[in-house]
Symmetry: C3
């Protein structure tokens, strides 16, 4: 039973996702299909990378991940298939893979050349499903494309380190369902550069001297429940994906607001950690 995931900017109202699933079942009747996300902001490769790198590792090896974000074939945007960390990816060559494969290199990459309908504006349906079906049947990547030795690079998920190594300069790369604001500073980088030094996290006009591991770390459970007043407080946390996040405890983005709206932190804004 092949496992195929979908990560797209199609939304869930239109016929796009249904059409793709129908085509997958028509080719691979015993497929199991999982939606990772169809809510990516249109054409946003950085969001795609953040979501996919945090989701894909939880699937069994051999899973085939189809990506439908900015995937129309043209001179600048080739279609590729690759094996990375035991997982297959079928996607455009638009920088996405470089943001997922930051620590592990792909084992093999091919430029897909089975296209019999180059004029398609719906590549996922007309090309990627066929490629996934080929892989699901145990086919090799070499049959469907020409081996490549490199792929496009994008550095949006990478924080900067000045030569003095006295700080990490990051940016907001994602705002999640709770309005929490996620930076491109990983816990791994924080440990490598910080080496146990004390630090200050700066985001907009706020600063934090502690980075938590759990949201409820900021609650003082020694107080009676009605005196705690922790809901609505801001905190810094290394989230479950390992990235530095600025959060509001128990925020609701659609009513009182979340970290993004309450602290005025938007996509691409700077977040830094200064070491002493």
């Amino acid at each position: 039973m092949p496992l195929i995931t979908l990560t797209t900017d199609f939304g869930t109202k239109d016929h796009f996702v249904g059409a793709v699933k129908g085509a997958i079942y028509s080719s691979i009747s015993d497929a199991r299909i999982v939606d990772i996300s169809h809510g990516i902001s249109p054409f946003n490769t950085t969001e795609t990378a953040y979501i996919l790198r945090n989701a894909y590792k939880n699937f069994p090896e051999g899973t085939i991940h189809i990506v439908g974000v900015d995937s129309e074939l043209n001179e600048d945007n080739k279609h590729i298939a690759l094996l990375l960390n035991g997982h297959y990816f079928v996607c455009p060559d638009n920088g996405l893979i470089s943001m997922i494969a930051t620590e592990i290199n792909p084992t093999r990459i091919v430029e897909i050349n089975i296209h019999d309908r180059l004029e398609s504006s719906f590549s996922v349906l007309d090309v990627f499903v066929q490629v996934a079906a080929h892989i699901a049947r145990g086919g090799t990547l070499e049959v469907i494309g020409k081996t490549m030795t490199t792929f496009k690079k994008s550095f949006e998920l990478q924080a900067q380190i000045p030569a003095e190594q006295n700080k990490i300069i990051g940016n907001v790369i994602y705002i999640d369902n709770y309005g929490n604001v996620i930076s491109n500073i990983t816990e791994k980088l924080f440990k490598e550069i910080g080496k146990g030094r004390t630090y200050i996290v700066r985001a907009s006009r706020y600063s934090f001297t502690k980075i938590n591991q759990k949201y409820s770390d900021i609650v003082d459970f020694t107080l009676p429940a009605h005196q705690r007043q922790s809901d609505g407080n801001k905190l810094a946390i290394f989230n479950s994906a390992g990235f530095l996040e600025i959060a509001i405890y128990k925020s609701n983005l659609t009513t009182v607001g979340g970290a993004s709206s309450l602290l005025g932190l938007d996509y691409r804004d700077r977040i830094t950690i200064e070491f002493q």
Copy 2:
């Protein structure tokens, strides 16, 4: 083929739902996974209860229901697993179960103690999936936790009856996809207290002397179609879940509005039935 449902406030854009599904398939390769809802308002236990109690009974017995709403483990929020009405639930002990189990008591409840990573901020991925996999493999609840005899109580879904039994005092507990407004007054309670007496339903400054069984009960089909003008009319109905609902016939919340916006009825507002 174990059946596992997910009810969360994760939204569907982020990687959370995909990561959980990947982990489930990694543990239970023949699982069937069903999304009940990922659109719960953040941390809203009452909404969770309303949605889950109306959905779960339709699944076959033995289904495992994972709940990811306000589920971070802390001193005040334990993780529990239980068997209720032939269904398994893996969820936080935050009052939710008391709103689902209003008529049937759980057969067995345990406080989960298999945690090997207490500092997780993503309990559904790190704990609940393991518990579900254990149950799916036929494991007993006793192996994964300590038997409990009670659980937290919440009364948000319960309408009030004054000593005179001359009315039922309810509140808005949910606003649905159509903008229809749902109270915590059940048809069962209405029959028990009303005993066939005539009644007036009061909601905001509106009143209703009839509670319908179908939305189109308010349409006069003896008139020619173009003279009916029933679209946009308000009505009271016992909805398919058995709760008193104030609705606008064929409303569209995002254009002209629904009962919530047009009649000014919001979450927690009072709705009463007075008997004569």
Copy 3:
């Protein structure tokens, strides 16, 4: 393993979709269930037709398509089941089928008469799932209903041709996830009427003398990437479903806007092609 799709206006927050899936698994334990859309605008039959006609053909023959849009049973709105182009549909008789079956007639149609609970306000759960289960078990349509020879007609998806055949007069029938605006003018009709003549597409105060096959056809790849400035440009295209669409290249409806908001084109607005 029967394949069952769902197309509804239920949204994905409420319990409706979960309840229906639970009931399907209770009746047909080896079903594969696919969501085509739950985001249809409430009671909008034209949107339903556009989405379903573009999705259903990609599924294998024998797939059962359940439609839950405006499906409450009443004197004017019968429940039907039918076989069309090798696919089963279980839906209300509200004009929907006439917009899907524009080129192929249904092989067989029945008016469902197995209702044992006419007072239901949740027909999909209480009736359509039973009908789908009957079909999935290999049952004939005749057992669950009375053969019909006709069905309700709706012409919303049909563009108009004046006697002179010098133009095609269409309307906006759908606005997609990217804000792109889709008309009821098909490429097939364009070829039949146009017969290779030159043409002008008119939409709001804009005109187009070319209809593209791919979105990136408007990009001049001979220029260096930073000089292209094609993002945000408007274009006309026959989309992957074969309908004339007015699009903004790489638009984002929720930030800068899409064709609908930027060009002022709304549902039902006129779009024409004039031939010379």
